[in-house]
């Protein structure tokens, strides 16, 4: 592993890594059962440098912004490296957003370059929104069919220039990326992450979960997400490890990838982890009675022997078939993006597969706490990572208060949002909006949210304000969207839902026609952004002098209703 302390930027560290590990495999790309590509660090450099040179020839300079909207694949990482090499600021955008949302963020970020895949560009180009992204000058599209209409874009594969690009140095305090943590409606939240944020986070994470040549990381979480960017790109690269990309994320191909590529680490969202649990449990349930008894006995032995810490070699021998299904070399499953239920974590730990659960947010530079497995604690999100100061603000009688963080990994602020930044980072402490407390062993436990938002099991942060546009001009007196647990706090991180609060006109009732209108509008939202119920309130919403809804006051009024009867099914 490189000594990150001596590097001033992501680009400088990656540049050295490509030379130091030149002969090691860095990327494997597979589509279904076909391996499409396998690159060494030397190959990677040979593909990235002509791109960097072409970008420089096109006028791309230090601090210029370049967005990437791509599924997980080698060209994502090659493009990112080329951007850093030129001293640019990377804007990784979510390929799962709608084209309208992607245009909004392209405009907001001020990106001058967009690198994307042809199917994504086809959808973006079909909308008349390009003119609003005034800075956007260069669009590179990968894998376009030979006769495709590129609508003014250039082919990524042909966008190369001869000669060596010149490396543009950056300092630790310079912005490296702008990562959108959430919010695409009224107020996009572009977290400005510095080079120092990444260098420090990488140092802390690799101290707990080391990468090295020979380690293979299966990259499934979108690379634009802070977790995969760190453990599916920067972390493995500065250690000479390999990253495996799958172009088809069907569960059967994901399952096959583990034994095929002898995967060492993988990151998953809780939804996928739970699905894995369900699949394994179904297989265990079909075992004949005798075999099942033996299996249960072996699980019991494994539990007893791994009580104080994981013992991977022993677990692999005891529960050989289970581990063989995961390739036999899996060291840990990293789970993130949302809260994971303790019973799911315990299920895997009992099988001898440690799940590195933790807690973090983009604004804090990915992870704040991680379970150090000494011993494993399914009921907590672990202890603060090295270099993280975590404190509980305004604790109640039970010690529960808002989690706040101070660290070199905390973002420098939200792009173009000084007020929001000042509300979020106070005296150097990042206020997370999550409620928690420390137990006597120093483990953090979470108990819900202070802020009006939800995080889905797929790891999506959803702010009610961002989806209200879908219900604009709904024929009611007024409406508002809320996170149910914001109105009725649950001291729980699971089962979060959004609700549509309606104030009907005098004499109006919730007719079938109105319901159908709401359902139709709801369906136009991506599935994870939909509201799950309706709450009626027969009084005017409290508003500020500028007519904005006073959401906290409204929530207090709604809380006077009984949750069980107040929520009407859609």
């Amino acid at each position: 592993m490189l000594d990150l302390a001596k590097y001033p930027s992501i680009g400088a560290a990656l540049k050295d890594a490509l030379d130091q590990f030149a002969d090691e495999v860095c990327l494997i790309e597979s589509d279904r059962d076909r391996e499409k590509d396998r690159l060494t660090y030397r190959d990677f450099k040979e593909r990235a440098h002509p791109l960097a040179k072409a970008l420089q020839d096109a006028g791309f300079k230090a601090n210029h912004r370049a967005a990437i909207i791509m599924t997980n694949q080698s060209k994502w990482l090659i493009s990112a490296y080329a951007i850093f090499y030129c001293g640019g600021v990377l804007v990784p955008l979510d390929y799962k957003l709608t084209p309208e949302e992607q245009w909004q963020l392209l405009k907001h970020s001020g990106a001058g370059v967009l690198i994307t895949e042809y199917p994504i560009w086809r959808q973006l180009a079909a909308l008349p929104l390009r003119a609003a992204a005034t800075n956007l000058q260069t669009i590179l599209v990968t894998e376009a069919p030979p006769n495709a209409d590129l609508s003014g874009a250039k082919r990524w594969e042909e966008f190369r220039a001869a000669g060596e690009p010149s490396f543009v140095p950056r300092s630790r305090s310079d912005v490296a990326t702008i990562v959108y943590s959430s919010g695409t409606g009224g107020r996009p939240k572009g977290c400005m992450m510095t080079h120092e944020n990444y260098l420090e986070q990488c140092l802390a994470l690799t101290s707990l979960y080391p990468f090295a040549p020979g380690v293979r990381y299966l990259s499934i979480l979108p690379t634009n997400h802070a977790i995969d960017f760190m453990v599916g790109f920067f972390g493995p690269f500065i250690c000479g490890a390999a990253v495996v990309h799958l172009r088809t994320l069907r569960p059967e191909y994901v399952r096959e990838a583990f034994p095929k590529y002898k995967i060492t680490y993988v990151s998953l969202v809780p939804l996928v982890l739970k699905n894995l649990q369900k699949g394994l449990q179904a297989r265990f349930d079909t075992l004949p009675s005798g075999k099942r008894q033996v299996f249960n006995f072996l699980v019991g032995v494994n539990k007893a022997l791994t009580k104080s810490q994981p013992r991977l070699a022993l677990s692999r021998r005891l529960l050989k078939q289970v581990h063989a299904a995961f390739g036999g070399e899996l060291r840990a499953i990293i789970v993130g993006g949302a809260f994971t239920e303790p019973q799911t974590l315990q299920f895997f730990y009992d099988l001898g597969i440690p799940v590195a659960n933790g807690y973090g947010l983009t604004e804090a530079g990915t992870a704040i706490t991680v379970n150090d497995l000494k011993p494993f604690r399914a009921d907590t999100v672990g202890k603060p990572l090295p270099g993280m100061e975590v404190r509980i603000v305004n604790p109640d009688a039970d010690g529960i208060g808002e989690v706040s963080v101070r660290s070199k990994t905390v973002m420098s602020g939200y792009l173009n949002e000084p007020e929001l930044t000042a509300e979020t980072i106070v005296d150097g402490w990042l206020l997370t909006g999550d409620l928690g407390r420390f137990d006597s062993a120093g483990h953090l436990q979470l108990f819900g949210r202070k802020k009006n938002m939800i995080v889905t099991e797929e790891g999506k942060n959803i702010y009610p304000e961002d989806i209200e546009a879908a219900f604009e001009s709904l024929p009611v007196k007024e409406f508002c969207v809320f996170a149910a647990n914001y109105i009725w706090p649950q001291r729980s991180m699971v089962g979060e839902q959004l609700l549509l609060v309606l104030h009907l006109e005098a004499g109006q009732s919730l007719t079938g026609e109105l319901r159908r209108d709401i359902v139709a509008r709801n369906h136009r939202l991506l599935n994870y952004k939909r509201v799950h119920g309706i709450v009626l309130l027969n009084e005017d919403f409290p508003r500020t002098a500028s007519l904005k809804i006073k959401r906290n006051v409204l929530a207090e009024r709604l809380a006077q209703q009984d949750r069980a009867t107040a929520i009407l099914e859609l």
Binding site: T71, E117, P119
Partner: protein
Amino acid sequence: MRTIEQTTQEVLSLASTHFQVPAGSLAPEDDFFKKLGINSLQALEMLSRLENHFGIELPDYEVQGVSDFRTLASRIQSRL
């Protein structure tokens, strides 16, 4: 060669069998996430079944953002 109507009916029929909902309870314009109460992973499982049934490969990008049976059927039809 199937017509788009036939493809749509086969998609509906396969979805109702796979997720054990009454045949005939699904309509082309239905949102399958909502109507079947499924998550994104279960939708991917359904796509694998559909690929096997129709003998095609449906790249993930083709179904990105698709949530109703009619659009799904048209994406399948274009690859038959």
